[in-house]
Amino acid sequence: MERISRRSFLKSAGAAAAVIVAPGCERSGRESARKGARYVFFNADEAAFIEPAVARLIPADETGPGALEADVPVYIDRQLAGAWGAGADLYRSGPWQSGKPEQGYQLRFTPAELFRTALRAITEDLRKANQGEFAKLKPEKQDEYLRSLESQSRDLGGVPSQIFFESLLEMTIEGFFSDPVYGGNKDMIGWKLIGFPGAYANFYEFVDQHGIAFNRPPMSLSQDASGMVHLHPTNPPEVAQKRR
């Protein structure tokens, strides 16, 4: 009974999921004529820092495209605009006290507040230092500035710069390697780069082919839901033994 309901469920789940994920795959921003229109959270100043910053954190180079090409800023933007940005996974009762690093995050800021606050301070900081737009700095100068955020305890409107940097780097890596349905990892750039196959569900036949080069193109959740062939463990022992 379970098997029948499972199969019929998968059929209907496929159809339902395809409808749900479709908007996530449009990437309407790519074709958008007006720069900045793709963001729902970042304002123009913020985007002007985030885009070149992620391009330094994971740059395009001879190994392949980087975070900017993978639409990582779109990923970060959507995360900050959504439930996670609003602090959906944070215990947010006071009192607020600072502790040891091993006690973890203790600031009042939600991720969205943290980015907004820190980015405002960074824009100010660059203006004051007469450095101009971050995007127009030479890559070495950009790296130098990012390193100063990472290693010096600078106050970004109440946000310690290291915590902002750590959060930016974490989200950049997430946006580079998470499923494309979240807006980053465009065309599965991150996965192709390292050879991660994505949402495949079955390596039973491969796991004991030691050292095999697994060269299939990766698969995203959205592709999967739109009808890619997906193997299921339909191997009762009798069948498996007969085949051998």
């Binding site: 780097l169 050292g211 463990p233």
Partner: protein
């Protein structure tokens, strides 16, 4: 039983592994049972299905299946001199919530603790002398032996369908299994899983050094299996989405796949989800529980009466519930008196890595939660500690679970944490690295304990549990030794580079280590140093049984679930065959 007649025979607090098992055994004995689960009802179909389940960001990074820490978290500090602060975001350990409990998102590693774990104090004293135990270490015996637990381990593993190879059948040692294990009465229900590449390399290296390699006992099944409850599990497909995920394939043993469908059909059982238990209620003598008070999904506070209460929540939550209910004296680290919250322990982990040449494709994504090859030569008291000066040990294994890239993108030491050099190193090493797991024991100490936080509250206005913990010096010495042994094996695995550092303090709540939190409601035969007796019955309130890893007086080198399951079956047996016939204390104080 004293007081007004209860509406019900038994209440389960939490319907995870323990709740499901006890629910089944008690309804089978004819009891009317209500299971109170704070989380949502969840089933393999439709809740755990692919493709959505194969989403690293949602489940592994954002931890979608875990206890809602915005409502209920813990506070943490290293020592009583520090101020505990709330764990505002999960990281070091991940308690689950919802029907099926934390075991829904487990890896499936299924080990029996050893007899020298159960009798650790007396065995250490007998072999090395009393002075061998450091002053701050409060290890003690459990009050059970491996031989007593064997039938319950056996029954539990046959419920799970565990895939493995015996190393000791009725006293006969069998090469290829864990030859250090205590005698088991029969072979595992299913044979070991296939051996992945990195594990095969480890096997060769470990055997070359004279160690006893064996396949990790796994609840990601190697073949279809129908358990004694009539439920059938499928073959694991090595999809690489086990821990932090639920299994869509019916291939990982969890309450949903091994027992819940049977329990839910039983007319003697009623499941209530979305029900947050606030406390166990006691009568005016304080010696008998009358039932529980819980808040249902609509926010209504309800008192439910029953003759028997099974506390079967996550280990830390078991401890908190007893403290909130004022069952048993809270432990005081200054005086060493009191018991509830005593002997909180953890696991002492380290992870050496072997970086190979690019010709070696490790394919880290073709893995399962509990696959792989390991040795127990340095676990428990399987080696002579005399000259070493520490208690405990670690199993060592190439038991990688996945290649999910947000969490797994190894780079050698010295690699920058971002930029072109980082990216090039990630590309270079992603598919050519093995991680060795050094899974170390954790002694109990006088200063590591759990109590109620004086400041921070949960969403119902009740104090959070406060965790005071740092790695004991004993365990830091243990990790230094066992990690060195693991690196020696790593060096025989043919890599270009082997790296790895032993576990050192201070304990960092922001780094995932394991969800093996133990102690707090520990078992024993002496009520002055234990919360429950050897049948897991409260010494103070005899119609309350507390079951979980919270019963462990200290933690062993192995993963805890198999031992929790064996203890749960043993307690169910004691309740049905002894307690129900004559309700009252099963052991004299």
């Amino acid at each position: 039983m004293a007081g007004a007649r209860a509406e019900l025979d038994a209440i389960l607090i939490g319907v995870g592994l323990v709740g499901t098992m006890l629910g089944r055994e008690l309804t089978r004995a004819g009891l009317r049972v209500v299971g109170l689960e704070r989380g949502a009802p969840r089933h393999t179909v439709p809740d755990f299905q692919e493709p959505q389940m194969h989403d690293e960001l949602r489940y592994a990074t954002r931890k979608a299946l875990m206890q809602d820490n915005t409502k209920e978290t813990y506070t943490f500090r290293h020592t009583i001199k520090d101020t505990a602060l709330p764990i505002r975001r999960w990281a070091s350990f991940l308690p689950g919530t919802g029907l099926g409990g934390s075991i829904v998102h487990w890896n499936g590693q299924t080990f029996r603790f050893q007899d020298d774990d159960f009798q650790q104090h007396s065995r250490i004293v007998a072999r090395y002398g009393r002075k061998f135990i450091p002053d701050d270490v409060t290890i003690q015996d459990w009050g059970v032996t491996a031989a007593e637990l064997e039938p319950y381990f056996d029954r539990f593993e046959y419920l799970l369908g565990t895939s493995g190879k015996a190393g000791n059948l009725k006293g006969k040692k069998i090469p290829g299994g864990n030859v250090f294990e205590d005698p088991r009465s029969r072979e595992y229900p299913t044979p070991p899983q296939k051996e992945p590449y990195g594990s095969a390399i480890f096997r060769k290296a470990a055997e070359g050094l004279g160690y006893h390699a064996y396949p990790q006992p796994s609840c990601n099944l190697s073949q279809p299996y129908t358990n004694p409850e009539g439920l059938t599990l499928n073959t694991c497909t090595f999809c690489g989405y086990c821990e932090r995920f639920a299994c869509e394939h019916f291939a990982k043993s969890t309450p949903q796949t091994i027992l819940l469908p049977v329990l839910l059909k039983d007319p003697n059982f009623e499941l209530r989800t979305g029900c947050q238990v606030l406390r166990v209620n006691l009568d005016n003598t304080g010696k008998t529980a009358t039932g529980v008070t819980y808040v249902d999904a609509s926010g209504k506070e309800i008192e439910l009466r029953a003759s028997l209460i099974i506390v079967g929540a996550y280990a830390t939550n078991n401890t908190r519930l007893l403290l909130l209910s004022k069952i048993g004296a809270p432990y005081d680290p200054e005086t060493g008196k009191g018991v509830v919250g005593r002997n909180y322990a953890y696991q002492t982990m380290s992870y050496p890595q072997v970086f190979y040449d690019e010709s070696i494709n490790i394919n880290p994504f073709m893995r399962s939660g509990a696959n792989g090859t390991m040795i127990a030569d340095f676990a428990g008291d399987n080696f002579d500690h005399g000259p070493l000066g520490f208690i405990g040990g670690a199993y060592i294994g190439e038991i990688m679970t996945n290649g999910r890239p947000i969490g797994f993108h190894p780079t050698p030491p010295g690699t920058p944490s971002w930029g072109a050099k980082w990216k090039q190193a990630v590309v270079r090493h992603y598919n050519h690295t093995s991680t060795i797991n050094v899974h170390g024991s954790s002694v109990a100490t006088r200063g590591n304990y759990l109590d109620l936080d004086p400041t921070y509250k949960d969403a119902w206005g009740l104090p959070l549990l406060r965790m005071t913990f740092d790695f004991p010096q004993n365990d830091i010495r243990m990790s230094a030794y066992c990690t060195r042994k693991a690196i020696e094996i790593g060096k025989q695995m043919g890599g270009k580079l082997v790296t790895g550092a032993p576990r050192k303090g201070p304990y960092d709540i922001t780094e995932y280590q394991t969800t093996h939190n133990t102690g707090g409601t520990i078992m024993g035969t002496d009520p002055s140093i234990s919360v429950v007796n050897r049948y897991l019955q409260s010494w103070d309130v005899s119609n309350v049984f507390v079951i979980g890893a919270s019963n462990f007086p200290q933690n062993a080198s192995y993963n805890p679930t198999d031992t929790v399951g064996a203890l749960a079956y043993r307690t169910a047996d004691a309740i049905v065959t002894k307690y129900l016939k004559s309700p009252g204390p099963l052991m004299n104080k």
